[in-house]
């Protein structure tokens, strides 16, 4: 098997986090990351990125938008009958 480098470890990170990497590849990646300071930091920031974006983009729908949606829908004909 090809030696695990940072590059081919990074290439399979998503499969790794999704749990679909075969066991042998998985342990090869873990061995490499365990011994590589740069990869440890990389994996940490890779996992941190979605969390930061998720928290920074949480929004609540303003009530007025809900009211406008409701007004628009009640003005429509019976559901399922409009083929336009």
């Amino acid at each position: 098997m090809k030696k695990t480098t940072c590059r081919n470890g990074v290439r399979v990170l998503m499969q790794y986090t999704d749990g679909v990497l075969p066991d042998s590849r998985r342990s090869a990646v873990e061995d490499h990351v365990g011994a590589c300071r740069r990869c440890k930091g990389f994996v940490r920031s890779y996992a941190e990125t979605p969390r930061i974006l998720r928290e920074a983009t949480v929004t609540r729908m303003p009530e007025r938008i809900g009211r406008r949606l409701h007004r628009m829908l009640v003005a429509l004909p019976t559901p399922g009958r409009d083929r336009s």
């Binding site: 940072c6 729908m61 303003p62 406008r68 628009m72």
Partner: protein, 201 residues
């Protein structure tokens, strides 16, 4: 009648709505409007655009109820309509020129080992990291700069936290395509937000 429909599944409500039960459709709207709006807000540039996507989503769902066959979950079908509505909205507008994020992808040396990250600017100070408005602005910029083919799967998978298989079903692509696109999005965003995610040079 309104209070009595709440215990029905989405699919059962959709069937009732198809048969002409207006309150069943209203219940579906109440159940999903908040999440569709949040998704729309993450896929578009402004609250006005998000509202347009929200309205368009439920309008199309309402008109196309008869095409809902129950093969996928109702929510998957609805989010497919929402992501298509967001895509159509972007297509109909003049494109904002944005520099690609490729320069933020990780770099490796000839042996395949991590090269030093490019210094994309000063690191954020602690106050900025704690400033919610600053974070929201940077996050928004980052998402806007992502090409649509990466943004939509990333938003569904990582921000809406849908399982990969459900994202694949919404976008009608394979699980592997979702993984490839989400992965590339994460790599670009990680580099772009390096001053916030603690990237070591």
């Amino acid at each position: 009648m309104k209070g009595t429909t709440i215990a029905f599944s989405d699919e059962a409500l959709a069937r009732r709505a198809m048969a002409g039960d207006r309150s069943a459709f209203e219940t579906l709207v109440e159940r999903h409007q908040e999440r569709v709006y949040r998704l729309a807000r993450r896929l578009t540039r402004s609250p006005a655009d998000a509202e347009e996507v929200l309205q368009e989503t439920f309008l199309r769902a309402y008109r196309r109820l008869s095409s809902f066959r129950g093969e996928a979950e109702f929510s998957t079908w609805l989010y497919r309509i929402a992501t298509n509505a967001a895509r159509m909205l972007h297509r109909g507008r003049a494109r904002h020129p944005t520099a690609p994020l490729d320069e933020y992808l990780p770099r490796f040396d000839r042996q395949g080992m991590h090269a030093r990250d490019v210094d994309h600017g000063r690191a954020a100070d602690a106050e900025e990291i704690l400033d919610r408005k600053y974070l929201a602005r940077r996050a928004k910029e980052a998402l806007e700069r992502l090409p649509e083919r990466y943004r939509t799967p990333f938003v569904l998978r990582d921000l809406e936290e849908m399982p990969t298989a459900e994202v694949a079903s919404v976008l009608e692509v394979s699980n592997e395509v979702v993984r490839q696109r989400v992965h590339r999005a994460r790599l670009m965003l990680r580099g772009y937000l390096s001053h916030l995610v603690g990237v070591e040079p």
